[in-house]
Amino acid sequence: MDLISQAADLESRAVRPARELGAYEALWCQEGASFKTLAAKFRAQPDAIPSDFVAPAEAERYGRAALDAIREAGIRHFGVRVQGAGEYPARLLDAEHPVTLLYFQGNWDITSTRCVAIVGTRRPSEEGMRRAAKLARHFVQDNFTVVSGLAQGIDTIAHTTAIEAGGRTVAVLGTPITTSYPPENAELQRRIADEFLVISQVPIVRYSRQHWTGNRLFFPARNATMSALTEATVIVEAGNTSGTLIQARHALQQGRRLFILDSCFQNPELRWPHKFLERGAVRVKDYDELRAHFAT
């Protein structure tokens, strides 16, 4: 494939995070780039890193653009994880299209704790909000890290409750680290970045150059990473067309456990709980049932 170079000496074989993020940004600005096409590129060249596919000057140019955007966003501390190097978590390779590079802010060490994703609709019912908060509190009490996607609704409740309960939380963004969505969660995102961990696989330059219709595809893509990063996903409440169901599909595909709250089954209009139950999801009534599953 289109490998530019692969030198063997220590210096040029080493991963340079700033160069790699530039190369990643450059790859994303190529015509037709997607997580799927990028993953295919690296699957064909298992030892490759982004800079193997990009001319040095181009990687440098895109790297500058991304680093400038990071600085302009007021971010002083961030890092990247590159597939095949450093602390890139092997479990991310369970994803259908594993991310080649991701940005993070905060304490990466949190990924070494037991992590559970709590996800659900952006427009939850009163009851759904109460259930999400209760779950987050229980998981914190049992020393789990609560992972979610910083979206409105269930995600926001999962993050804020985990923090209020004195626990840890991780936000896996559908935007670059330089952007907040929804905007009203900007402060929450900052707090999680400062005290816990924010992760994003979304390319900064491409995101800044394209329209919302293109960028919204980054949201479901991050659900695959969120699932791969965690040992289980719990769905609190979701409609038939909810993006949450993307994560459900990925969780099962990746061999992660998928729990669906019993209340989802009691809504006759919802078809998905039964569909995922057939595929291997677990129906749970309350936290005690969940806890029993995590003990095994």
Binding site: A14, A85, D109
Partner: protein, 231 residues
């Protein structure tokens, strides 16, 4: 809790660059330092697989034999990682120099894990592994985010073995150590070497770099600045 931690190192080293240099106070842009993983200064969270590996690797020789078995395994893992990540010709092109133990050879806690790892990693190669340094007195080990000695006092303790230097002309030097913290030891060794040969190429290879948790970062930087008398 004891476990093996990570049982293999990544196939590539990672260079310290502008995204990570801020965690290593004494390193400058021109310094060429490389590491395999990251060691997280303890905050009681996850104890990552790399932390566990380093913990086992640093286990004192005076510990119980059960613990020392984990240490042996860590040495084997790190040796295998070095061998896999660095091409033979690259290994043989350099002189490998261990950053010295904080204890003298007659101290019960003297630890030769660094040189032992290099010897194991490159066994059978035409490799130049040289213990060019020793300390004139034993000191406390520099762990985690603490930094007890100033670079000046460290430099005073650091002695070059001129006989070892004179044995053969050194090739470009790689200083090897387990954890890159502030970069103080690396810089002290570099300075001593430059006193003998101002032009020799020097790089650092480390098993892990110490990543500063966000919260104590500004605090430590401030503390170091006031100590070093820098703005």
């Amino acid at each position: 809790m004891t476990s093996s931690g990570r049982t293999s190192l990544p196939s590539r080293l990672t260079a310290i660059d502008e995204t990570t240099r801020g965690d290593h106070y004494y390193l400058a842009e021109a310094d060429r330092c490389f590491c395999f993983g990251e060691y997280f200064a303890d905050q009681g969270w996850g104890h990552s697989p790399t932390n566990q590996l380093i913990f086992n690797y640093k286990c004192k020789p005076t510990e119980k034999s059960a613990r020392l078995r984990w240490k042996e395994q860590a040495i084997a893992t790190i040796a295998a990682g070095l061998k896999a990540a660095i091409a033979r010709q690259e290994v043989e092109r350099h002189t490998w120099v261990p950053i010295p133990s904080s204890k003298l050879p007659d101290h019960p806690e003297y630890d030769d894990r660094i040189v032992k790892t290099l010897r194991r990693a490159f066994a059978g190669y035409d490799v130049d592994i040289r213990e060019l340094f020793r300390q004139s007195a034993s000191t406390d080990a520099d762990h985690g985010s603490s930094s007890r000695m100033t670079p000046e006092s460290l430099l005073e303790l650091l002695i070059v073995d001129h006989d070892a230097w004179d044995r053969a002309p050194p090739r470009p030097i790689i200083l090897f150590d387990d954890v890159l913290t502030t970069g103080k030891h690396f810089k002290a060794c570099e300075r001593r070497l430059r006193e003998i040969d101002p032009a020799i190429a020097i790089a650092g290879v480390f098993v892990a770099r110490r990543a500063l948790p966000r919260r104590i970062d500004d605090f430590e930087t401030a503390a170091l600045r006031s100590k070093a008398g820098r703005p």
